[in-house]
């Protein structure tokens, strides 16, 4: 094991030495490590003096840990710059080729650079935090709780790790530092949002949420490390000479994947679609499991929150009768216009889920699709408090249109998961771009051939049949 890591550390040592000789890295780090903590100390003292005049000591107490987090974050932001430069810079300067031609493995090269990108900024971050804490203790006598200190240390480390892992992925996929910097917004924007959420939690002193954030970031870092090692491909690093968008080639790959060897629409439906579905067996299975788990989670949340039957006025479910059908009619049911409206709404949701999913490794897309199921589960759980059978409520509100809509959601979610997976774990012998185009073509294929017709059928059933079944099942209760 150590024998495997040693070559990685050779890379790390060289990179760190290189960073220490670069004033463009050292100067900002030194300023953020030594000057900013003093500035933060000064600010804290001024704020403490100010808020204590008005007796707002709670605010003062919350402000000290908040600034500790900020003092720790600033130096690690430099790691992003270093990481973005790591592979793209070497590719641009052509110094990567002798390394790629050496006996180093991809993992060793990745690990060596990863440690090098994090080491100095993280060291500077901890040093800055120590300076800040020492100053605060000296001035106010405030001492950090050991668990809180551990939380901040871990949070800072995993934030740095996530930024660096993400930046390394970007860096391996671009041939110039400029291109890498342009793509850095994919990291900067989510991290900025994360810091804002963390700041709110700091001011609320809800540290439990921050522990969850640490856990989530660790999972994200693991995913990104896997993605980084998968994409650290000698071929990709040297094969791309310029970052061009080859639309013609993309269209050829897309078309080939979409149409396949089909000679007619019937041939496409009968041969190509089953072939694509066979490729999607695993994500379909995952999506079905997630869907079931979401419904169960929704039901369980009712118990968790200790809700009572009267809270939502769901007792009315017991008096569903024929009159309710006229109410359904008033809100647009039993009309063709509503069919199109529901159909369009579902398609829009799937499209948004796909766009967000492709930007978040599939996660946000799947969450959007699962959310309504979670709500249905919650509603079912809440309705069961009135004494109704949960299964009966579930069937009454989701059938028969659910017979078509749920498979459509599962298929759509599976296709989105594949788009996300094309980044994290691409197929062997296929570049990221090619993998992405193939997965998008599969998504289009499944959407056109199955999701759109299934949603249309579901909308027809929902508008014309589901209300009748609802009344039949719950009516006269």
């Amino acid at each position: 094991m150590l024998d495997e890591i040693r070559p990685a550390l050779i890379i790390t040592r060289r990179e760190i030495r290189d960073q220490l000789r670069d004033w463009r890295i050292i100067l900002p780090i030194a300023m953020l490590t030594l000057i900013f903590p003093f500035l933060a100390n000064f600010t804290t003292r001024r704020i403490l003096d100010f808020v204590q005049k008005y007796g707002a000591s709670l605010l003062a107490e919350r402000f000290i840990p908040f600034l500790l987090m900020i003092v720790g974050f600033f130096p690690i932001s430099i790691s992003l710059v270093i990481a973005l430069e790591s592979f793209a810079g070497e590719t641009e300067r052509r110094s990567i080729e002798p390394l790629l031609s050496s006996p180093l493995t991809d993992g060793q090269l990745y690990l060596g650079k990863l440690i090098a990108c994090i080491f100095i900024p993280l060291f500077a971050s901890y040093l800055g935090m120590s300076v800040y804490l020492f100053g605060i203790y000296n001035n106010t006598g405030w001492r950090a709780d050991p668990m809180f200190l551990l939380l901040i240390i871990l949070l800072t480390a995993v934030q740095a790790l996530v930024m660096v892992c993400g930046a390394v992925v970007i860096s391996t996929q671009t041939t110039s530092v400029r291109a890498a910097n342009l793509l850095a917004s994919f990291i900067i924007i989510p991290v900025a949002l994360l810091i804002q959420v963390e700041s709110v939690m700091m001011l609320y002193a809800d540290y439990r949420v921050l522990w969850w954030a640490v856990l989530a970031l660790v999972i994200l870092a693991v995913l990104l490390i896997r993605m980084g090692i998968t994409h650290l491909n000698r071929e990709e690093l040297l094969g791309h000479e310029i970052d061009t968008l080859n639309l013609r080639w993309m269209w050829q790959v897309f078309r080939q994947q979409l149409v396949g060897n089909a000679l007619s629409p019937w041939d496409w439906y009968s041969r190509e679609i089953p072939r694509t579905l066979r490729k999607m067996v695993v994500p379909i299975g995952w999506m079905a499991l997630l869907l079931a788990a979401t419904i169960i989670l929704g039901v369980a949340e009712v118990k968790q929150l200790g809700l009572t039957a009267g809270m939502f006025g769901l007792d009315r479910l017991k008096i569903v009768d024929e009159q309710i059908l006229s109410q359904f009619r008033q809100i647009g049911f039993f009309s063709t216009g509503n069919v199109l409206s529901i159909w369009w709404h579902n398609l829009r949701a799937v499209t948004i889920a796909t766009v967000l999913g492709s930007l978040t490794l599939g996660v946000a897309g799947v969450l959007i699709l699962l959310l309504p199921l979670g709500i249905i589960g919650f509603f079912t759980g809440a309705a069961s408090l009135t004494g109704l059978s949960p299964l009966l409520v579930l069937v009454a509100f989701t059938m028969p249109h659910g017979l078509l809509e749920i498979p459509a959601i599962i298929l759509s979610g599976a296709a989105i998961l594949r788009v996300g997976a094309s980044f994290v774990s691409p197929n062997q012998g296929v570049s990221i771009g090619e993998g992405l185009v193939i997965s998008i073509a599969d998504w289009v294929k499944i959407t056109l051939a199955l999701v759109i017709p299934l949603f249309l059928g579901a909308a027809i059933l929902e508008v014309f049949v589901s209300p009748l079944l609802l009344v039949r099942l719950l009516g006269g209760g």
Partner: protein, 327 residues
């Protein structure tokens, strides 16, 4: 030492290397010639297991480039076209860094570093930052890096580009010195004089294909025809009707000289001299007319000039769309 069989590399729809078959034995130097974008660098990258062949196979120092890539990379020293050095390191640090990567022990690294810096005349600048080096110095350092772990296979892309004549000579002498019984060398170069001087064999690559390969002299004969000889005479030819003995073919004549072509100079040249003397024409000098590799190369390239990329070239008398091995 190096063997490739129908080695092919495709980047999306672009065929960069097309069924290249080469062989370099121990102690041999092969020069890979071709215009920019012909596929030379891609071939070298496949031989260092950096790029994976789309099809075909290659063995380097006995290892397969696909299945034994780590062993291949450990056995190869590569000088890349753009040397890609680290500007903030010194030559000492740089060579030591690569020595560590190749898992060489510290005393060996020290000894090797000293040796190579001395050999390439960089000893005096060993503690200067590489960023301050001239182009030629950088090239020499990159070559020192390629040789550092004493690899059995050396692949060099433009080894003397950007060098002044003196440094280029130093590097060429070094390459001469590297030719040992247990080392195979491939040089990619645009410098045809250099290729002629260093290489035992030449392969000309065009649009990813080897269009012709063989020993230097054999290649010249194949491309430029039989060697020509020129005889300087001690008398005027004005009143003399020259009819050379078979199989010599007269190709030109002046007031006091003639040129002829023959595939068998050992047998024919004495007959020609005898004939001229019998005609009372004293021979002052007989010498082969020099034929440069450049001329042969240009001849080979001109014969491919009108072909479409990566298509068979049936009209080409040398290759008939396939690699022509000469000799």
């Amino acid at each position: 030492m190096i063997q490739t069989q129908n080695l092919t590399k495709k980047f999306n729809n672009f065929l960069a290397v097309d069924q290249v078959s080469l062989e370099v034995k121990s102690g041999e130097v092969l020069a890979l010639l071709g215009p920019n974008g012909a596929g030379k660098t891609t071939t070298l990258r496949m031989l260092t297991s950096v790029l994976r062949p789309t099809s075909g196979s290659a063995r380097v120092a006995g290892y397969d480039v696909v299945t034994q890539s780590a062993q291949v990379r450990a056995s190869v020293g590569i000088l890349t076209e753009q040397h890609g050095l680290y500007g903030r390191m010194t030559a000492l640090e740089y060579l030591d860094f690569f020595g560590q990567i190749y898992r060489m022990e510290s005393p060996t690294r020290r000894k090797r570093t000293d040796e190579l810096l001395e050999q390439f005349g960089l000893w005096g600048d060993r503690k200067r930052r590489i960023g301050e080096y001239s182009k030629g110095m950088r090239q020499k350092l990159a070559l020192a890096r390629a040789l550092y772990h004493n690899p059995p296979v050396l692949l060099m892309d433009e080894p003397t580009s950007a060098m002044d004549p003196e440094s280029a000579r130093l590097v060429r002498d070094a390459i001469h010195g590297l030719r040992t019984a247990n080392r195979g060398i491939i040089i990619c170069t645009h410098n045809l004089a250099e290729a002629e001087e260093l290489a035992d064999k030449i392969a000309i690559i065009h649009r990813g294909r080897i269009i012709i390969s063989g020993a230097v002299e054999e290649l010249k004969t194949h491309l430029l025809g039989a060697p020509q000889f020129e005889v300087r005479l001690g008398a005027s030819l004005e009143q003399v009707d020259i009819s050379l003995p078979d199989p010599a073919t007269l190709t030109g004549q002046g007031e006091d000289w003639i040129r002829y072509q023959t595939t068998n100079p050992v047998q024919v040249n004495p007959l020609v001299v005898e004939y001229l003397v019998s005609k009372a024409l004293p021979v002052i000098r007989l010498a082969e007319v020099p034929r440069s590799l450049e001329k042969a190369y240009l001849q080979a390239m001109s014969e491919t000039g009108n072909t479409e990329p990566n298509v068979d070239m049936p009209e080409l008398p040398l290759s008939s769309g396939k690699t022509q091995h000469v000799g």
